[in-house]
Amino acid sequence: MSKTRSSGQWRGWLYVAPALLFVAVFVVIPFGQLIVMSMTDRSLLGGGKFIGLMNYIRIWNDSGFWRALLFTVKYTIVLTPILMILGFALALLTADNTPLKRLTRTVVFLPVVIGLSSSSLLWFWLFDEQVGLLNKLLVDLRVIAQPIVWFASADLAFWAVVISITWKVVGFGMVLFIAAIQSIDREILEAAVIDGAGYWRRAFLIVVPLSRRIILLATLVSAIGSMLAFDQFYIMTSGGPRGQTFTAVYWIYQNSFVSFRLGYGAALSIVLTLIILAFSTLQIGLTARNEAT
């Protein structure tokens, strides 16, 4: 026993080394390059002159960036509660292991594993004002008089993306919450039934408090995903109309890979990294605390 543990402090490092080297070469060093690049005026044509914090000052005055960031925050603030509440409701609906509930669970989860590009194109088609079946369904059900042109208005385009993403990822929260519900001691719930606590009282006064750590983690994972949103907007709205649906990552993409303002794009990337870092530190902290117990 003592032999396995004391066979050299370095031996463990030997096994971890390839992964460390990989992360160092493809993440840590590029991040260093990103920091350096963010202080230059580098473009596709060259440049690369050191300009100090000029790019960061430019960000401060870049109304396009602030609009994109605010839009991303709005998207996150609207979408995250929808995903958590619906996910929790679906978990309550399907937590028991009957065949129908298992089937419901599987079907709700299916969209989670398909690609965001596939689901975005699928919904781009459903929302289309000419051939889209969602518009047709709403007209047939007399909800609307004629097809809606979803992507001509920033508000409607926003909701179209929110609807499609809710369909796509609601199963993720559901699966986590099912695990939380199933890990609750049955005796607590049974005792509550015997004490006459109704279904909703049990759900809100027992299940929610006992699942709060998982709820917080799922919220963080969802929020980080939304703050980094790109694919769905690139495919469904192309940032339009009139650039009103650019997200933070989309704005970086536009600067770096469409306008080739590489130095400026790098500075934007640093700002985004700092924002995400606040979320992921919290996430890692929660995860570590779970491991300690």
Partner: protein, 294 residues
């Protein structure tokens, strides 16, 4: 007498049944409605993909195909460099991503789980870097580095990006798998004179197969679906992966969207991930839980 004895027990059974489940008929109705809403987009897309091209672009649209046709699929198969090229690109990148994730994460998980390491926290911190630094932020320096060494538009280049996306999750999963293996088994191998490497390959890996399957499964699905890096790094028509193919099918030839071909390509793109998920559902869910919760 008997009822009196049974009654409390029956109440307990009923209580257990109802512990977290409300009334039945309403639940069945809601479940069926949920299934219908969630399945409808995929079912409708599949139905649209087997319409004739003209029917798929009809205004107003029909829910069901008038006549069945594989015209749209034929169009996708022959699209630009050919479907086989694009599926091949995606499959090759995914295979390389799986191989790299397993080759890096299994030893790293073993090292972290089974050895006392001085400065383990530093190793953790570095291995968490891909979570703390979103890959969306470092695509520009990566692109410039890759361009310098000729990795742009190569399968290896994209597989490297997909591997770094997947690596923290893979390592933590492997570490968790190795931690659950009892000490006694390892000690027996030590007594038999196995080196640490032999212990990994002969004792630990065979016992950690479920973990390895889960790592490979996530690597496949996430690589197959990844969009942004593929969009940037695979910019030559012959090197597109399937998600990029979808976008170029929509862009079409003359600006008008070929809706039938688009739905056929959407269906083609989702079949592999759905099939793999349905076949290995148990692994996927357990991986998701240990990845997000633990």
């Amino acid at each position: 007498m008997t009822t009196a004895v049974l009654a409390p027990e029956a109440a307990a059974v009923a209580a257990r049944r109802r512990a977290m489940a409300p009334g039945t008929y309403g639940i069945v109705a809601i479940s069926i409605a949920v299934i219908a809403i969630m399945a409808a987009p995929i079912v409708l897309s599949a139905l649209a993909s087997i319409k004739t091209a003209a029917d798929a672009s009809a205004i107003p649209p029909h829910y069901l195909p008038r006549t069945l046709s594989l015209e749209n699929y034929a169009k996708v198969v022959g699209f630009q460099a050919g479907l086989a090229t694009y599926v091949g690109n995606s499959a090759l990148v995914a295979a390389m991503t799986i191989a790299a994730c397993l080759a890096l994460a299994a030893p790293a998980g073993y090292g972290l789980a089974r050895f006392a390491m001085r400065g383990k926290e530093i190793a953790f911190l570095i291995l968490l870097a891909p979570i703390m630094i979103p890959y969306q932020a470092i695509l520009t320096p990566l692109y410039l580095d890759f361009a310098r060494v000729g990795l742009v538009n190569t399968h290896i280049g994209l597989a490297i990006v997909h591997t770094l996306l997947q690596l923290p999750f893979s390592i933590f999963l492997m570490r968790a798998s190795f931690e659950t293996i009892p000490r006694e088994i390892e000690e027996a191998a030590v007594i038999d004179g196995c080196s640490t490497w032999q212990r990994l390959t002969r004792v630990f890996l065979p016992l950690a197969v479920p973990g390895l399957v889960t790592v490979a499964l996530f690597a496949f699905i996430n690589s197959w679906n990844e969009f942004l890096a593929a969009l940037i790094f695979m910019n030559r028509n012959t090197s597109f992966t399937v998600p990029i193919l979808l976008v170029s099918v929509r862009a079409g030839k003359f600006g008008a969207v070929d809706w039938g071909a688009l739905q056929a390509s959407v269906i083609i793109s989702i079949i592999p991930s759905l099939a793999v998920y349905l076949a290995l559902q148990r692994y996927y869910i357990s991986g998701l839980l240990s990845g997000a919760v633990k």
